[in-house]
């Protein structure tokens, strides 16, 4: 068994699977020996098994009906053949395979193998892709053949050999999502996730409301919070049925939105110029670095002094946090662009401005969106602090005043609402990023380069 696993691990398609899957594949492999001159299978027969050559040499001749670049090939230990057994649709042998020496092979049932690979959520795809690569690169067959290996993501296995062959059929984002969702439901994950939630809520409920452990009993309990949150007539004045609740949510969202948009509008261009022009960076970046280590929240009193009213200081704080994150990440994004892209653009006759527009801006995009996601996070972070210290209305204000006025369940309502709204806004930024960077999404769906 051990030996079989070792052998499988040396072959191209099985190198990538998880140790667990490898063990399972070894479990369904059967050792067989053939003597010199034996024919293992010939073209036209139905294909049931995939083979791995363990020792000896084989002669592999692809039938002339298939358009292979090279038809004949000799196989050595570690080579994989008989891959027609995992094709989608009709499984018919495409080659004659005969032994030029006494050989030992591993025989693996194709249907069972496919099943195992499909179950390997992490590496099954890679193994199947590896099969189609093997077919096109080691057996010199056109993509039309290589693509018959079912690929869960419908990843194209294209090679340069076949002119005129449609190179890639891209799975739409939708099928991809559906596939992932289906896989997820079938895996143990959702149930384990429920266990996790149960543990969290259960321990909250038990410690606070059932056992009334010391210290815990002072906290608002699960049922109290839930009843309060959904009550039509809340005891402490805030539930999903009161307009005041939505007013607080709206005020917070509006503050974050203003600050975030302002930070993006100023931070992205600043970051782009910082990354692009060395002179500009050498003059401006030191000042930037001088201010950055000061925690955003240490600005609170200064912000209150500088800006009149209670609204502007909070927005200023929120803006400041977002601004630093956005500008810094955008600058890093520009610096991360491979020099050969800018050089290639200059080579192709682009001027400095065209390089900025066509290379610098799109090239920095992945980092910009990472920056924007961080920026939304820190925006909420400093908004809460700002609202707790100064400011009126808003979720941070709710949390703080509920504490001072001893409306404990409302504190939790405020916290949970913050979590939900915060998560939703960063998800929105992520979706916007994916929408704007189709190229990156597709590249990643195929496992990158």
């Amino acid at each position: 068994m051990e030996q079989v696993e070792q052998l499988l691990k040396r072959t191209l398609p099985f190198q990538v699977v998880s140790p667990e899957t490898l063990g399972n594949i070894a479990g369904i492999s059967q050792r067989e020996t053939f003597s010199e001159g034996d024919v293992i299978y010939s073209a036209g027969q139905s294909a049931n098994d995939v083979y791995v050559l363990a020792s000896g040499r084989l002669h592999h001749a692809i039938t002339p009906q298939v358009n292979a670049k090279i038809h004949e090939k000799s196989l050595n230990a570690g080579d994989v053949f008989g891959w027609a057994a995992i094709f989608e649709g009709e499984r018919i042998r495409l080659a004659d395979v005969s032994c030029t020496e006494p050989v030992e092979v591993l025989r693996i049932d194709g249907t069972k193998l496919l099943d195992l690979l499909r179950r390997d959520r992490n590496f099954g795809d890679a193994a199947m892709r590896s099969f189609s690569q093997l077919i096109s690169q080691q057996y010199y067959l056109p993509p039309s053949v290589a693509n018959r290996v079912p690929s869960t993501l419908a990843a194209p296995a294209t090679t340069a050999e076949e002119p005129g062959e449609p190179a890639a059929q891209m799975a739409s984002t939708w099928t991809l999502t559906m596939y992932r969702a289906g896989e997820w439901i079938r895996s143990p994950d959702p149930y384990l996730m429920m266990i996790g939630f149960m543990l969290l809520l259960g321990s909250w409920y038990l410690t606070v409301e059932v056992f009334k452990l010391p210290r815990f009993e002072d906290l608002p309990g699960l049922t109290t919070v839930v009843t309060e949150w959904f009550a039509t007539d809340p005891m402490y004045g805030l539930s999903i049925h009161t307009s005041e609740y939505y007013q607080h949510v709206w005020v917070s969202i509006r503050r974050v939105a203003i600050a975030f948009l302002l930070a993006t509008a100023l931070g992205v261009p600043l970051g782009l110029f910082l990354g692009w022009s060395r002179t500009f960076r050498e003059y401006v970046f030191p000042v930037f670095e001088l201010l950055r280590p000061i925690p955003i929240l240490a600005w609170v009193p200064l912000a209150i002094i500088m800006f009149t009213g209670s609204e502007t200081p909070v927005i200023f704080l929120t803006f400041l946090a977002s601004f630093f994150a956005t500008a810094l990440n955008t600058m890093l994004g520009v610096e991360s662009i491979d020099e050969s892209y800018t050089r290639a653009a200059y080579c192709l006759g682009a001027n400095r401005w065209q390089v900025f527009r066509e290379v610098i801006i799109p090239g920095a995009m992945p980092y910009v969106f990472t920056g924007l996601q961080i920026s939304v996070g820190v925006a909420w972070f400093s908004l809460v602090a700002g609202e707790m210290v100064s400011g009126q209305y808003g979720l941070g204000y709710v949390i703080n005043t509920s504490y001072t006025m001893v409306r404990y369940p409302t504190i939790i309502i405020g916290m949970v609402t913050l979590g939900i709204v915060g998560y939703a806004t960063s998800a929105m930024v992520r979706v916007a990023g994916n929408y704007m960077m189709q190229w990156r999404l597709r590249e990643m769906a195929l496992g990158g380069r």
Binding site: Q137, Q138, P156, T158, T159, A160, E161, E162, P163, G164, E165, P166, A167, A168, M170, D338, S340, Y341, R343, A344, A345, Y346, C347, L348, G349, A350, N351, Q354, E358, V359, P362, G363, M365, M437, Q438, W439, R440, R442, E443, L446, G448, R449
Partner: protein, 287 residues
């Protein structure tokens, strides 16, 4: 579409442009006071339409020479002329990068955020002389000619690496360059894909005769592709041996097994190996 093809085809005749003369070029890097000589009094003549293969150990300074021609770096002394016009030389240490000399990069530099078609169309779009429709039509025709139909709307990240290299060459040819500069473009490919790429490069070359300046450390690749073979010394780099490859073009893969190919390989491999050994020893000292 057909009319477009007609316009592409006439380039088949012999190249009249793209002769390069490298004259006594020296390149010294001086990053932190420690002067490092990369190119040492290098003189080289490349005829128009010739495939000139520069062979040398990794890091020997051949890329500095390519960067000087492309206009990415300046030179310390000497001069480089193209078709009698000075690219860089006394009073003008750095050449202007331009669409008449296009580099095909080591790791490929197709813009991953543009589709293959947009990549191919990039040069003419920047020049802005033709309308977008005309440019895309020409790009499609050239891609079809190079066997790239069907991949126009894929992003480079979605197609195989061999295919990407081919798109990159087509992107360069779109600009009617006089010289193509290859910086070890096939280094990262496996040997099978590489052999396919060699044939496809020659195929494209026979259709569009341009001067090719090709850097490599693979001697077989150099002999198979080149008209002229320049073996460089290890850092600083200077031509050590210049050789005309007298195997007639057009060539295909049968050349690899021909006796003349073997002879040339034997004749040169000793020289190359010696330089590689020197550079390895030097590298160990640096480390």
């Amino acid at each position: 579409m057909n009319a477009m093809l007609e316009k592409v085809k006439p380039r088949t005749n012999e190249a009249r442009y793209g002769a390069i003369r490298i004259d006594d070029v020296v390149k010294i890097y001086d990053p932190e006071g420690a002067a490092v000589m990369a190119v040492d009094h290098c003189t080289l003549d490349i005829k128009a339409g010739e495939i000139c293969m520069i062979v040398g150990p990794s890091g020997c300074g051949k890329t500095s020479l390519l960067n000087a021609i492309a206009g990415f770096h300046d030179i310390t002394s000497g001069s480089i002329h193209m078709d009698g016009e000075m690219l860089c030389g006394p009073g003008k240490p750095k050449a202007e990068p331009g669409a008449d000399r296009i580099v095909v990069f080591q790791n490929g530099a197709l813009f991953p955020w543009k589709t293959n078609l947009e990549n191919v169309a990039f040069g003419p779009m920047m020049a802005g002389k033709l309308s977008k429709k005309e440019i895309h039509e020409k790009a499609r025709a050239m891609m079809a000619d190079a066997g790239l139909s069907g991949t126009e709307h894929n992003y480079p990240g979605e197609v195989s690496s061999g295919l990407r290299r081919r798109v990159e060459i087509v992107r360069a040819l779109m600009n009617d360059p006089k010289v193509l500069l290859f910086d070890e473009p096939y280094r990262a490919l496996d040997s099978l894909t590489r052999s396919v790429m060699h044939e496809s490069l020659l195929e494209i070359y026979y259709k569009n005769k341009v001067t090719i300046f090709f850097i490599t450390h693979d001697l077989e690749e150099a002999i198979f592709l080149g008209h002229k073979l320049v073996i460089m010394t290890s850092r600083p780099c200077r031509p050590k041996k210049i050789l005309e490859v007298d195997i007639p073009h057009p060539r295909d893969y049968s050349v690899l097994t021909s006796p003349r190919f073997r002879e040339l390989l034997e004749e040169t491999s000793e020289v190359v190996h010696e330089e590689a050994r020197k550079s390895f020893a030097a590298g160990e000292k640096e480390g």
